[in-house]
Symmetry: C2
Subunit: 277 residues, 2 copies
Amino acid sequence: MNVGIVGLGLIGGSFVKAYKKANNTVYVYNRSQDIVDFAIMNGDVDYKLDKTNMNECDLIIISLYPNSTVEFLNNFSQYFNKNSIVIDACGIKKSVCKCGFKNADKFGYTFVGAHPMAGTHNSGYKYSRADMFKNAPMVLVPPTFDDINLLDKVEKMLAPCGFGSFSVTTAKNHDEMIAFTSQMPHIISNAFIKSPTAATHKGFSAGSYKDLTRVAWLNPVMWSDLFFENKDCLINELDIYINHLKEYKTALENGDEEYMIKLLEEGKEAKEKVDGR
Amino acid sequence: MNVGIVGLGLIGGSFVKAYKKANNTVYVYNRSQDIVDFAIMNGDVDYKLDKTNMNECDLIIISLYPNSTVEFLNNFSQYFNKNSIVIDACGIKKSVCKCGFKNADKFGYTFVGAHPMAGTHNSGYKYSRADMFKNAPMVLVPPTFDDINLLDKVEKMLAPCGFGSFSVTTAKNHDEMIAFTSQMPHIISNAFIKSPTAATHKGFSAGSYKDLTRVAWLNPVMWSDLFFENKDCLINELDIYINHLKEYKTALENGDEEYMIKLLEEGKEAKEKVDGR
């Protein structure tokens, strides 16, 4: 298989290494040339990807930030092969899929939105690994929800990455979910660590503290970009969350133990419903 | 060593099993007798602890909720041996240490506040284990801050539990820290899971979601008790936290990407200062 990968960051680099390890021919496009030259010399990549050879790729994976993914799709869709599958790797799907589906219709190729749920808090090619996606969940947004043949083909093409599961959903549903399951935890963690008490906690770190602050160290530009692409969903989740927090504060201020126990019971039950005990 | 353990819950039971495993003589006091009878039949415990044999104990560990610990200290301090060390195992220290130090002065024994930072989200003797404290941090609050001989003696007495580290602090400092490192994470987790989006997230769970919601399933009565014992510190942390969260919401509402990136940078830097990258 000829695989074109756009963007040599943590995720793009990991796709490169996974496909190369499985003996595919790997083409790469990246704004900065130094890292492409390095990856070729290192044997990770076979060719630079450009307008002239884009039509040789069976699969193209665009691993850029949302804004840059849209820009790339608008500028290069005309060079893709009509038989190729093009996927992205963004953490939000509405704006990217809208652009991908539109260009795919216009130029005759097939676009499938994709969100590989993997990564580390470090970014860049340096930290990429062939096994980054091993057992990770992969969320797919196909142009037609029940196109089983297409999904089957995409899952086969992605097999060298070793994903643990594939979920199929709509862009809207994906973005609502991701505001809650991924974007909110990053804001929660990043905001929590700002307490002045944090600086003096050595020797007192419970496991719950460690879990909660793990993702506070993040890539500010990337996450800001993702947040604004999903602004409405995220504001909604923040509102719900802040209102719930205020209830615990009210219970404390009023010395109302019965209310506090009720609030904690409700959270316990909600957790039990979602994930079991 | 003769060790008296008061309360046969998760923590008390784990002390029982750790000391028994190290061939100490274990005395136990518990409100409900069934579980004491079971523990004796099971070979975990040697004797029931009561007024008549309390003075035989070299070490007494009170593993009850804060209110009940204070009550026990007030009712039974007169029966302790003057050479004995008495510790508690509560998650808050100000009220418990105040009561412990006062009674120790009055009746001539030695009280040391203690908070073993271990546990599971399940409670009860059933889930207790001899290795519950293995490598866990133990926080001690001695009556005199720099009483090295006493701390040395206590650490030796606690050796069978296998704690990974001992920190020494004041009750006030402990409670300020614990509001941030342990109580806040439980409220944050318990409040977060209440979003209506939670119920429909299957297949989308990022690692950050899993970390954040781990402690949402908790013991409501126990945590409510701990929260109210540390009410002022906790209200202060909740205020700081809600105000920080509102800043991210403002950045989103105003479409202010520069402000959002600044907020995320500040959180990233705070995390780096506390825990490194």
